[in-house]
Assembly symmetry: C2
Homo-oligomer: 426 residues x 2
């Protein structure tokens, strides 16, 4: 596998010092070239004529710009799948991302276990690994050390030296300032305002990009899931907390200053239920795991000394609800109504065509029951248009790590196609 | 003034039939060229070297692309203001939008009066006009006829024939589907799902673009106000209803499908106060004029037969609150708390650097009292960062019409710089 790494280094992709043989990319076409790369990446495979149609530009312009991207090793020509072949003349040729151009790692740090993947530039999984851990907040140095151990294990499994990676994406739950690389608060970190990206980059000797859970899932959908079909969609994650991600025109939107989309902490009741963020009336204080758990103790007549795991307690609550326990039912019913309210607010503000509900326990059907969707529709703006589609995607931790890898891929391709100091090289 | 119109026609701006002398704009640079135009337009005047710095491109690329825009008559060279002049060597030259390139009209239809302006391509006011009307919903044909009368009056005042306008922007309150030109509901229209843009375009013989109040104010800020300083900001309008507009990277964002940003109809209380949209718990049912008015009747001990105007009733309520009437105070106090909640939701979702509070009655200081802002901050995500700046801008109807003109300017420049079928011309 080491040859892959050598091959990658030979490409350089426009980075400083990549050799004088490939002329610099024409600067005036930079935004359009990036749009073309985004479209090819999203489509997986796409013919030049389709690209021209979708971007409303001439086939000649597409040929010029994609030639540059092929020359630089970002894209490659692939045989189009059989159904696109007319059977006449030359076989149809499509464009795809050149898988071997780069390798990146994605790491998801969470309360129960840390998971990691290595993927190629097209997002194909090369290797995955997980290590379990004791729940609880950790010191920065410990979490960076754990990341290094996990990264070395997954690299060994992938047969790639650590230095052959172009970047690492690191996902943590909590309030993450993606542009500055600072975690303002996370249940896995014992301190606030922690410069996690810089500390991890120093330890790993690689560029490190960080983001929160919900954005990771959204990036995974953008690169490998719904983004293949749609340019715009919303993701709502429901688990230990409630998160949101949003894609506009094939790109993730994190709010103007990089820390928006905190749907779980929008207020749905003045002076309402207490949230783990310390404020009152947050959506997640009615919908997230911990909100159900604290009422479950009342419904199931448990004392706080009966030490069940959150998962086991929710399983038990769900079983009681199915068996007809009125109190247990009312907990799910209320959570479903508040979820409907939160989703209707997403619709009224963002007007998405698709909302993906994502989480580990999405099988709790109160979350996507007919009544919940009907209630959401009743609280949406009455415009005569149909409600957005709602899809439910269950996720495991390995797929969250895949989202962290998508973050790294996103940063690598953006850095190569739109370098902040491209002008300096000219 | 007729010579202005002739001058404009001579330029053509890349429209079909503009003559063979000017070569077509290079297609691969289209998105960057549009970014350059947006920056110049937002800045008012900007030097080429500043453009290069802001867009991270070389001065050579800026010179190439701005030459094309000057050749086409979109931009022109202007003498930079005195303070930018170093006093040595050549006088500093900046770029600005070529004011005489196009003229557009903006019309605001509202319950009490209709207002209109004519502006040039740089947004300078050429003429303004208003006609009062009887309150109440109107038929489509009547509202189109009223628009025509008003347009002809403001054109006469501007000394421009109607045909010399490049487009008309038309603003109405309510649920407006901007891309399709359909008004799904408006207090000024007696029917739902009305194809207002198409009907007005047919009657006026000009391209007509429609949008709702809040987006008009946002476009006015983008073209003539806060957009001169900032690439991203939010606008919240508080008046007969509560609206919102949002600017990302110098462009207005209306939601994925064009009908988002309905902050006034996000739910802040499950099964809450009745909203004029027919649903319960909407933010505007706690904050807008009509929400205050219905409680004012209780606080001031009025019967519904005492027929005061909304304005007079609110003035009276405000006077009573200032004089110490506890019930009147509590109305403003509650509205302020719900406004704080709504603003904190805007911050938690969109993370803006600036929120502009805009409306006719912004002098009711409960809306921007210290306590309201403190409450907003208490409901914001605790990230250790400062709260966004809040500015309060009072608006008159003529300035809403200016926003409608900004809509027309936006559509004209987008149509010229990014025509959907530019490829067909090559």
């Amino acid at each position: 596998m080491a040859s892959l790494s050598a091959e990658r280094r030979g490409l350089g992709g426009g980075a400083p010092g990549c050799g004088p043989l490939i002329p610099p990319l024409s600067e005036t076409a930079r935004p359009l070239r990036q749009q073309i790369f985004d479209r090819v990446r999203a489509a997986g495979q796409i013919a030049r004529v389709e690209l021209a149609k979708e971007l409303s530009i001439s086939p000649a312009s597409v040929t010029t710009l994609t030639s540059e991207l092929i020359e630089r090793g970002f894209l490659e020509e692939v045989r189009a799948p059989r159904e696109a072949d007319t059977g006449r003349g030359r076989p149809a040729v499509a464009l795809g991302v050149r898988a071997a151009a780069h390798f990146v790692a994605g790491i998801k740090l969470s309360d129960r276990e840390h998971t990691a993947v290595v993927v190629d530039f097209a997002g194909n999984l090369i290797a995955g690994e997980a290590i379990s851990r004791q729940p609880g907040a950790m010191q920065l140095s410990d979490i960076v050390a754990a990341s290094e151990t996990l990264l070395d294990r997954v690299c060994a499994k992938a047969g790639l030296p650590r230095a052959s990676l172009s970047a690492v994406g690191l996902g943590v739950p909590g309030f993450v300032d993606c542009p500055s690389g600072v975690v303002h608060w996370s249940p896995v970190l014992s301190d606030r305002h922690v410069p996690l990206a810089a500390a991890a980059a120093q330890r790993l000797g690689l560029p490190v990009h960080i983001d929160n859970d919900a954005n990771l899932v959204t990036l995974a959908e953008l690169w490998f899931g719904a983004g293949r079909r749609l340019s715009d969609f919303a993701v709502v994650t429901i688990e230990h907390g409630v998160g949101m991600g949003f894609v506009i025109n094939h790109r993730i939107f994190r709010g103007s200053q990089g820390m928006g989309m905190e749907l779980g902490h929008t207020k749905v009741q003045l002076d309402g239920a207490l949230c783990r963020c310390g404020q009152r009336g947050c959506l997640e204080a009615y919908v997230a795991d911990y909100a159900l758990v604290r009422e479950a103790q009342t419904a199931l007549n448990l004392t706080h000394r009966e030490n069940q795991s959150v998962g086991a307690l929710l399983e038990s609550l769900f079983d009681h609800a199915k068996a007809g326990n009125v109190a247990a039912r009312s907990i799910f019913h209320r959570a479903g109504r508040y979820l409907a309210l939160g989703l209707s607010n997403v619709v009224n503000l963002f007007d998405p065509e698709l909302i993906i509900l994502s989480g580990e326990r999405m099988r709790y059907d109160y979350l996507y029951a007919e009544e919940t969707l009907a209630e959401m529709q009743a609280m949406m703006l009455n415009t005569g248009r149909p409600a957005p589609r709602i899809e439910t995607h269950a996720w495991g931790d390995l797929l969250w790590a895949h989202g962290a890898a998508a973050l790294a891929l996103h940063e690598v391709s953006d850095g190569l196609l739109c370098p902040p100091r491209e002008m300096a090289a000219q």
